[in-house]
Amino acid sequence: MKVNQELCVGCGKCLPFCPQGAIHVENRKAYIDQDACVECGICVRQIECPRKAFYEPPEVNEWPRSVRKVFGDPTEKHQSTGVRGRGTEEVKTNDVTGRVKRGEIGFALEFGRPSIGTKVKDVEVVTIPLAERGIVFEPCNPLTSLLDTKTGIVHDDVREEKILSAIVEFAIPFERFEEIAGVVYEAAKHCTNTVFSWGLVVRYEEDGTIAAVPVLEKMGIHVPKNAKVNVGLGKPFCNE
């Protein structure tokens, strides 16, 4: 996004609104740091700019900068990666899709979240070691199209793009859970440029328990009580 310098009066009302803190005022004019901007569009949509000086320049939709908008602006549908938004339906429709079945476990590692943002290349801290172990990344996730899925290396043209967040998403057989959780836990120690929020998609067992919880506790990974629960109302129902 950019600020029309002819319109801007440098009032500074816009400063608190940018999620990336990319707006600054200099010589009574507001500017957006183009490296820091993730093209989320909140400045255009939300700031009550008295001069309506914020606008989206055409280059926002040109490759590779368009990647920023794909991963940053939740209000628009985008085609540059072939899929929409930052993630997939994951647990939301798991009662119908059976994306993660009993005996499997899904990982959703959202880089840049919360609040920090990330360079696309920063996901390599985990995608490379995962690829070395033969992990198959979720094909419907838009991040996957930016990777060499065999090596986990991010494509050259998008490496330096800063995005609001991106989700490394995959599912594995439960037998490999401890091994792969260990890889992620170890990778986190080398993740020095950003943060990631770690979500685990799990199927309830017949007795209502979740098999992953005691394994995580054994590994010393605290399991907070927050969860997103699919209540099982979808049809046709997948009981696998």
Partner: protein, 215 residues
């Protein structure tokens, strides 16, 4: 994406926080789903969520929206998204959805044991869950915990730490009520999953703590 997950804060602040999402599964039960999704929204809205939103109309309940306009714009792949601040209302919604058997998937976010209990009360068996394991990596880059409690209520990260700090300060200094502050903070979250009741409670708690410190 998992935008209702990963809310940050002390466990006790989630007692009345229940983001709600319903949607069809693309290419499986999405064809012709618009009337069903419209009905899901009607049922949820009839039970007075604390917030509700739409990425299509780019509006949320806090900003004010025309209910009929929102319902009329429902398409086959439109998600229903909002937040409740009362577990009994959620149970009532789930019971009615079960009774009408619309076949659209529903997820409720919250403290897991509490949500499981609500499901059972509605006669439902939870199918699967997305567990939030927390934040990893360079956590020293994060805003302070008090601010994260608010920013993480918009999972798409549209609410900035800067705006949260500005509102927290205004409430602490008595220039704004917690309710007024919560309403401003809810605006950037078009999905309507930001919980103004929880935000007002957090702002009130901070204001009271600040007053005690000054005494």
């Amino acid at each position: 994406m998992s935008h209702t997950l990963h809310r940050f804060g002390p466990e006790e602040t989630f007692q009345n926080d229940f983001p709600f999402i319903s949607r069809p599964a693309m290419k499986i039960n999405s064809d012709g789903a618009a009337p069903k999704m419209r009905r899901v929204m009607e049922i949820a809205l009839d039970h007075e969520p604390v917030n509700w939103g739409s990425l299509t109309t780019k509006q949320n309940l806090t900003m004010g929206f025309d209910r009929e306009e929102l319902l009329n714009k429902t398409e086959d792949n439109s998600p229903a998204m909002g937040c409740f601040d009362d577990r009994d209302k959620v149970v009532a919604v789930l019971k009615q959805l079960k009774e009408e058997d619309l076949g659209m998937s529903v997820v409720i976010t919250g403290l897991r044991d509490k949500v499981e209990e609500m499901c059972h009360e509605a006669g439902l068996t939870p199918h699967s869950a997305d567990l939030a394991l927390g934040i990893f990596g360079a956590t020293e880059l994060l805003p302070e915990d008090e601010t994260l409690c608010f920013t993480t209520m918009c999972g798409h990260a549209m609410l900035s730490a800067g705006l949260v700090r500005q509102i927290r300060k205004a409430v602490r200094e008595g220039r704004m009520t917690p309710e007024e502050g919560a309403k401003i903070l809810a605006k950037p979250c078009y999905c309507g999953i930001f919980n103004q009741t929880r935000a007002a409670m957090l702002l009130e708690q901070e204001k009271e703590a600040n007053q005690k410190n000054e005494e």
